[in-house]
Assembly symmetry: C2
Homo-oligomer: 146 residues x 2
DNA sequence: CTCGGTGCAAATGCTTTGCAATGTC
DNA sequence: GACATTGCAAAGCATTTGCACCGAG
């Protein structure tokens, strides 16, 4: 996955919206690109701090929204009050099975689902921007443990 | 839709969990049964107040969780920080197209989607409890308005 | 030079909690 | 009676905001 390409996408998006390319915004993007799996804004903030980046929490929140706008991160609202984010650059659109016992998240990709979703949208004359299927339940491990 | 049946479900669920059947809990259920579409906890609380029910906000929140547990209401977390609820008794499982411009929510039912979801779950050996597909985008009206 | 962005700390708003009083079982 | 539940107000938390300073264009 090309780090430069991601930064270019951000730069272009900023230019489009007549917004400025600040070092902080690109620093947040770097931190996101280094991330694995799901994370929350606070976690990213502290990871950045301990890596020596000086950003404020407010900027992290702001920039994450910005990154979502240009498709570089996905933002989810699972069961909790916390927003979860995930690097979205260079990976296919996918969905989540969320274990209510252990909090584990299983991802899956489904072309059928993507098509089905398109069908529904064109039937309702709705333009999809992004989407998330969340299935809450019990994962294999927790099922065995019971 | 049978109001009595809904109360029976709640009563049975409470008995199962060795929890008590209080008038407040049944009053919240009544308010939910009278509701149309999506609502939030605060809205339900004020509606109950103006109908003369005396419940605290805390009880409303508690009871809504209880009602979700026994499948009488569905709880959603759309884009906002507020949880949205919806009466789930006597209606098929459905999903949502959410317009980011006007906030309108379009519901749809899809057997195909339900089947697809079951397939994914059995493949991953995951036991689904409940699920929600949320498609964010622009609705027909807002699309025309632009 | 202009005005959008940043950092900080304080504010906001939803939800939960602590505790004494209440009422179910 | 015992103890789960309630109401109230206060506490918690994630997120946003206001404002003075800074720096990208």
């Amino acid at each position: 996955m090309d780090i430069q390409a991601a930064h270019d996408i951000l730069t272009r998006h900023l230019k489009n919206g007549k917004q400025r390319a600040t070092p902080e915004r690109h620093a947040v993007l770097d931190a996101v690109l280094q991330s694995q799996g799901h994370f929350d804004a606070e976690g990213l903030y502290y990871r950045m701090l301990s890596n020596g980046s000086k950003v404020s929490k407010a900027t992290v929140y702001n920039t994450l929204d910005l990154l979502q706008e240009c498709g570089l991160v996905s933002k989810y609202r699972f069961a909790e009050n916390t927003s979860r984010y995930e690097k979205a650059f260079g990976r296919p659109h996918h969905h989540h099975l969320i274990c209510l016992e252990c909090g584990d998240i299983i991802e899956f990709v489904s072309d059928k689902l993507e098509r089905l979703q398109q069908d529904v949208c064109s039937e309702k004359r709705f333009i999809a921007h992004n989407s998330t299927l969340q299935v809450f339940g019990t994962c294999m491990k927790c099922r065995k443990a019971e």
